[in-house]
Assembly symmetry: C2
C-alpha cells in the first residue's frame, strides 16, 4: 500500500521552485480537486476511483506521519458523498472531534498536505476555520458536534424567520459511535428534536471507539444494524428523532443516494451509516488478532480483498501505539504529529512509561484488594494501560467510554463504598469532569486517585494542551495535587493516595497525581541532568500526610532559593549548578512535590538567608502555583521591605498549537541561561 | 393545609427543656418513626396514613421555610415504599441532586426537623453523610446518581467476588425526569447495563423539570406512560437496560409491590414510576393556570380531591419565586433557606433583579436581531427570566434542559453562524460546561455572552457556592470577564458583549459578565453605601475594547490604593471614607470593572505615590484575581524594594455551608473595621 513512499524518485518528482520532491502523482483525480465543486463535477462513475485514491493517500500518509487514520479510512466514501451532495460552505458540516476530517480537508483545497510530505505542516490535525472556510470549528474533544450544529441551525432558522433569508443552508453534524458515549452528545440528541428544523446528523457507526465500544447502548445498536435499521428499541427514535439506515456505509453511491434524500429536509434526522473503521488498512506485521467486526465485514469497493481485513485492536501493537497526543478516536492510538514508521524502536514517551509503571505497581494488589479499580474514560493505550494489562486486570479495569464526567462520579461512588478507584486520562479531557471533581469528589471528600497525564507544557496541539491542569485541579478546595519528580516519588505518591480507607496515614480526600513529563523522564534516563542530587533522592521517612506534603530541600544555600515544581525541577538543579559555576552563588534548591498547599515552615525558614525566591512551573502562571508563593510573602509579614522578592516563571495565559516544548520553554524564560542571568542580576541589585 | 402552623399553642406545646413550642402532634405515626425499621414495622394498612401525615408535614414546612416541596410531595409514597422494602443503610439509596430527600430524612431519624420549626436548622437541604448513615453523598447538582450508584455496586460486586462477602446490599439510584436530561445521567445509563449486577434505577417521572421538560425524549416517554410502559422506542431499553413501569406512582402499596419484585435483582433495572409532582399542593391564590399534567391526573390516596390539583407553573408566581439558591428541580423555584410566606412583598433578590434588567434590555432588540437568543439550562425563574418574558421571547428564548455542557456548545454554534447567544445560569452549575468554555467557546473565539449568576460569596449552601467562579472563568485564555458594579455598568457590559459580530467595537471572543450581587444591589437602593461617588459614575466615553477593559479610578489619593472588584467595590468606598475620617488618609479608590487582564497603565501610575495596594474580591483568593496584581508588581520591577506592597483580601480555599454573608465577610477580613486598621498599620510601618 505504500506505493507513494516506495517509488523511486525521478526528476519529474522535483518541482521548479526548491528542488524538493514533488507530490506523488498516482492520485490524479485527487490532485485535480481543489474544492467541493470539483467533487460535484466528477462523472459519477469516477467517485469510486476517487475514493480509492484517497484511501491510498491516507495509508501512505499514515505510515509517514501517523494520525487518526482508522476513522478517516472508514469515512472516505461518506466524506466524498457529503461533498457530492451538500454545498459547503453554504451548507455547514461539523465534524465531531474532527479526527475524521482528513478526507474533508483533501476535498476542500488541502489535498497537497496529504499527498506531499513537504506540505505536511500546512494543515493541522483538526478542522480549523483559520485554515478553510469549509471548517466550522477547532475541535479535539468528543461529543459536541450535535450541539454546535443545533446552534448553527437555530441561527439560520431565526434569520429565515426574521429576515426571510440566511446564508446558511443545510446543517450537518458527523459523529461516530465512540463519540456518542459522551454525555454532551446525548444532550445534543435530546435537544435536536425539540428544536426542529433542518438538521442532519450523520451517525458514523464503525462499531469501535478507541479501545472497543463500552456501554449498554451498543447491543441495541448492533441489533439495529442487523435488522437493517428497523429494530426497536431505536435510541434515536427514543430521543424523538427521525431515522434512516444505510448498511453500505463504504459504498459511495449508496451514500450519495441516502444523503440526497435528506438534503433540505425540514426536520432533524439521523442517518445511521455502517462503516468499516480502517477500511483498507493492512495491520501491522505479527498482529494475530481475529477479525473483530461483529457484523459481516463489508467488501469495500476498490479495495483488494486481501487488504480488506480489519485486525482486532492493532493499536495494542507497538507499531500503532506511539501517541504523544490524545486521540478520542482512531484505529491507531497514534499522534497526528509523530511518525509511526520512524518511531519504531524508539524509547517510550513519558505517558506510556509512567502509565505502565503505575499499572505494574497496582496489579499485584488486585489479588488482595477487590475494591481496587482502574478507570479509563476510553483512552487507555495512550497512557500505558496496555491491552495485556486490561486483559489481566479483568474487573479491576473499567473503560467507561468517552465519559470523563461519569468516570469521576463513578469513582466517587466506589470510594464511598470503601473501594479504591484510580481514574486515568489526559489533563485536557479531565476538563469534562470539572464539576464532578468539585462536587462528587472534593466536596464529598471521596478518596479518588486521579492520574493526570500530559499535564503541563508540551508540544501539543491547542485542543489537548495540559498547560491549564494545575489551575483547574489545584484551586478546588480539599484536593491534594502531587507533582512527583521521579519514578520513585511517583510510586510513593500512588501508594499513599491508594492506601486503604482505614489506614491511619491515608489522605483525607482526593489526590491528583500529575504524571511526570518529558523533563523528568529524561532525567531518569540521564542522571547528569540532575547535577545537584544526581538523581539520588532523600527517601521518605514515612507516609503520613505531613510528610507527603512537605517540601524537599535538596540543597541548602543562601541568597536565592529555586523552587522547581514537577517537570521543571531538573531545570532548577541545572540552574543552580550554573549559578555556582558561573557566579559562585550556592542556591537553595527545593522540590515542592505538591502544589495545593504551601509548606509554611519551609517558606519561613528561607527568610533569614534569602532575598530572592524563584518559582518554576511548566503551566499557566495565572491561576497557577508560583503566584500563591508570591502572595504568601506579600501578605504574611508586617515588614514588607524585609520580604524576599519572588520571581515567577511559567506559561502565559494563551493557547499554543504544536509549538515544540523547547521553543515554549524559551518563550517563557524556562531556560538555564535566562534564569541564571535574571537571578544574578536580581541578586546584584539587592 | 396549614393546621400545624395555624393551631393555637397551649402548654402541651412547650417542652420541658427550654420552653419553646413543641412539635406539632397531628403526625402521630411520623413522630414514632426514628429509623427505616419503624417503617417496616408499621401495619400495612397504616402506610397510606403515614403518607398523608408526611404530605401535610411537607406542606406546612414549605409554607414556613420554602424548599423543594414539589418534588418531595411527588415522592412521598415512593420514599415510604423504598424504606419499607429496602434495608438502608445496608441497601444504599442515592438520591439524584437530593432535592427530593426530605421524606427520606423524615424516615431516617430526622422527622423533627420538618415537624418542629425549632429544629429546622438541624438538617441541610440535601443528603449529607455527616447527618446520617442513610445518606450517601452531599449532592446539589443533577444527574450523577446513576454513576455514583454504579460505583457503589461495582465495589460490592468486587468484594463479593474477592472476599465472598460485602457490607453492601441493593444499590438504588433515584432520579427524576428533569435530571435525566443531564449528559452525565445518560453516561450513567449507558454504563449501567455494561457493568451488570444488582442496580435499581428508580426513574421518578413527574413530567416536569424546573420549568417544564425540554427535549426530544419526552414525547416517547409520554407514549411510554400512555402505553403502560409497553411502547417502543423505550429509551432505557435502548441503553440495554431491563425496565418496569408503575403507573400508580403515588400509590404506596403498588410501589411496595413493584420494589419488592426488583429487590435483590441480579442485573440493572429501571423502575419507571409515574408520579404527580406537588401531589397535594394547593397552588397560590390567584393562580389561574390550567392543569398542566398531560396524562390524567392521578387521584392521590389520602388527599382530598380539592387539594389534588396541580397548578401549571405556580413557580412563576411571586409566592413561589423567591429563590436565593439554585434548584434543579422543584415545583417552586424556592430556596430551602428562605421563607416563602414571610418573604411575600419583600424586594427582589439580586439574581432576579439583574436578571430581569438584562432581559428587559435584550427584549426590544428581538424584533430587529433574529439571531439574538437567550439560553437557560433549565433554571430561568431563579435568574429573573420570567415566565412572561419567555412567552414573549418565543424563539429568542431556549431552555435546553439541565444541560450546561450542551448549552455552551449550542451557544458557540450560534455564534459561529453569526448569531448572538446569551447563556444564563448559576455560577456553580457552569462548572458543568468548563470544557466547553475552554474548547468550543474560548479556543474558537466564539462570541458567546455568559451571564454568571450568584458568583462570589453568598450565604449559599456548599454545593451551590459561587466563590469559585472567577478562578474558573478568568484563568481560561481568551475569555473576557467583566465584573460590573452598578446596573448601569451591567447594561453597558451586556450591550458591548452582544454587539453584532460586524461591529468594529465588538469584543474578539467570549465575554462573561458576573451578575452583581447583594452588595451592589444594596448600594443601588441606598447611594449612601457609596460615600465617595454617591453612586454617580463616570460615563463610559466609548465602547471600544480598550475602554471596556480600563480600570476606573473614582478617587485620586496617595499612599494607599484600594481596588475593589465587583461586589466588594462599595466596601472599597466605605473603607476609604473611614480612612479619611479616622486617619486623614485619602486613598485612591479604583473599580477595576473586569478581572481577566491587568490595566498596566493604571498599575504603573500608582507606583509614584502609593506604597500600598489593597485588593478586595468576594471569592477565593487562590487562583483568583488579587494575586495576579501581587505577582505583577513582584515580577515587573528591577527594584524590588521600590515596589508597592500588595495586600489581598478574599476568601480562603474552602467549602462553606449556609454561613451568612456577613459572617463570611468577617471571617475573610472584608469589613471596614478590619481593612481600616490593617491599612493604617501598614502605612505606619512604611
Amino acid at each position: 500500500m505504500s506505493d507513494v513512499l516506495g517509488k523511486e524518485l525521478d526528476t519529474a518528482d522535483f518541482d521548479d521552485v526548491n528542488g524538493t520532491p514533488a507530490p506523488a502523482t498516482d492520485a490524479p483525480l485527487l490532485h485535480n480537486i481543489s474544492s467541493p465543486a470539483d467533487v460535484k463535477a466528477l462523472p459519477a462513475d469516477q467517485l469510486t476511483e476517487l475514493c480509492r485514491e484517497i484511501r491510498n493517500t491516507l495509508l501512505s500518509y499514515g505510515h509517514t506521519h501517523g494520525g487518526h487514520i482508522g476513522s478517516n479510512l472508514g469515512m472516505v466514501e461518506a466524506t466524498v458523498a457529503l461533498h457530492r451532495v451538500f454545498d459547503s460552505p453554504l451548507d455547514r458540516i461539523v465534524f465531531d472531534v474532527s479526527h475524521q476530517s482528513y478526507v474533508h480537508k483533501m476535498l476542500t483545497g488541502r489535498a497537497l498536505a496529504y499527498l506531499d510530505p513537504r506540505h505536511f505542516q500546512d494543515v493541522t490535525g483538526f478542522t480549523n476555520p483559520d485554515e478553510s472556510k469549509h471548517d466550522q470549528f477547532v475541535l479535539g474533544h468528543t461529543g459536541t458536534s450535535i450541539s454546535l450544529a443545533c446552534g448553527i441551525a437555530k441561527t439560520r432558522d431565526a434569520e429565515l424567520a426574521g429576515n426571510g433569508t440566511s446564508n446558511i443552508g443545510n446543517v450537518v453534524a458527523v459523529i461516530g459511535d465512540g463519540s456518542l458515549s459522551s454525555g454532551v452528545a446525548f444532550e445534543g440528541l435530546n435537544n435536536a428534536a425539540e428544536q426542529g428544523g433542518n438538521l442532519i446528523i450523520i451517525f458514523n457507526d464503525n462499531e469501535m471507539s478507541i479501545a472497543g465500544d463500552f456501554g449498554g447502548m451498543y447491543g441495541p445498536l448492533a441489533r439495529l444494524r442487523a435488522s437493517g435499521g428497523t429494530a426497536q428499541p431505536n435510541l434515536f427514535n427514543a430521543f424523538g428523532l427521525d431515522y434512516r439506515y444505510v448498511e453500505a456505509g463504504n459504498d459511495v453511491n449508496a451514500l450519495v443516494k441516502a444523503f440526497a434524500e435528506v438534503r433540505d429536509i425540514d426536520h432533524p434526522v439521523v442517518v445511521h451509516i455502517h462503516t468499516l473503521k480502517g477500511a483498507g488498512y493492512e495491520g501491522s506485521a505479527g498482529n494475530d488478532q481475529p477479525l473483530r467486526h461483529a457484523d459481516a465485514a463489508q467488501q469495500v469497493e476498490g479495495i483488494p480483498a486481501t487488504d480488506n481485513v480489519l485486525h482486532a485492536e492493532p493499536w495494542h501493537s507497538d507499531h500503532c501505539n506511539l501517541s504523544d497526543h490524545e486521540p478520542h478516536e482512531g484505529q491507531c492510538e497514534a499522534s497526528h504529529w509523530q511518525n509511526p514508521d520512524a518511531s519504531l524502536g524508539k524509547p517510550e514517551d513519558p505517558r506510556k512509561y509512567y502509565g505502565k509503571m503505575a499499572m505494574a505497581a497496582l496489579e499485584p494488589r488486585f489479588a488482595t484488594e477487590p475494591g481496587l479499580v482502574v478507570i479509563s474514560p476510553a483512552t487507555p493505550g495512550s497512557n500505558g494501560i496496555t491491552h495485556e494489562f486490561r486483559e489481566r486486570a479483568g474487573a479491576h479495569y473499567v473503560d467507561t467510554g468517552i465519559t470523563e464526567s461519569h468516570a469521576v462520579a463513578f469513582a466517587a461512588g466506589i470510594a464511598r463504598a470503601g473501594g479504591t478507584p484510580v481514574v486515568a486520562t489526559t489533563a485536557s479531557f479531565f476538563q469534562r469532569a470539572y464539576d464532578q471533581f468539585f462536587q462528587e469528589m472534593s466536596l464529598n471528600r471521596s478518596r479518588v486517585t486521579v492520574l493526570d497525564f500530559l499535564g503541563g507544557l508540551s508540544g501539543s496541539d491547542n485542543t489537548h494542551s495540559g498547560a491549564y491542569d494545575l489551575s483547574m485541579f489545584a484551586n478546588i478546595p480539599q484536593v491534594t495535587m502531587l507533582v512527583p519528580t521521579s519514578g520513585r516519588d511517583y510510586l510513593d505518591d500512588l501508594a499513599w493516595a491508594t492506601l486503604p480507607a482505614g489506614d491511619a496515614d491515608a489522605p483525607d480526600g482526593a489526590v491528583v497525581i500529575r504524571v511526570p513529563g518529558e523533563g523528568i523522564l529524561a532525567a531518569e534516563r540521564d542522571p547528569n541532568l540532575l547535577p545537584i542530587t544526581g538523581g539520588h533522592e532523600v527517601a521518605r521517612s514515612e507516609f503520613t500526610t505531613a510528610d507527603m506534603l512537605a517540601w524537599r530541600v535538596n540543597q541548602f544555600g543562601s541568597r536565592v532559593a529555586i523552587v522547581g515544581l514537577g517537570n521543571t525541577y531538573p531545570l532548577a538543579e541545572r540552574t543552580a549548578a550554573a549559578l555556582a559555576a558561573d557566579h559562585g552563588i550556592v542556591a537553595t534548591v527545593i522540590d515542592p512535590r505538591q502544589c495545593t498547599s504551601l509548606d509554611i515552615s519551609a517558606l519561613e525558614s528561607l527568610r533569614a538567608e534569602h532575598s530572592l525566591i524563584v518559582t518554576l512551573e511548566d503551566g499557566q502562571l495565572e491561576g497557577g502555583w508560583g503566584e500563591k508563593i508570591t502572595a504568601y510573602y506579600a501578605n504574611s509579614s508586617n515588614d514588607h521591605s524585609r520580604n524576599p522578592q519572588v520571581l515567577n516563571f511559567g506559561a502565559s495565559k494563551e493557547f499554543t498549537d504544536r509549538i515544540p516544548l523547547a521553543e515554549l520553554n524559551a518563550r517563557y524564560g524556562l531556560t538555564v541561561e535566562h534564569l541564571v542571568s535574571t537571578i544574578a542580576d536580581a541578586i546584584a541589585r539587592r
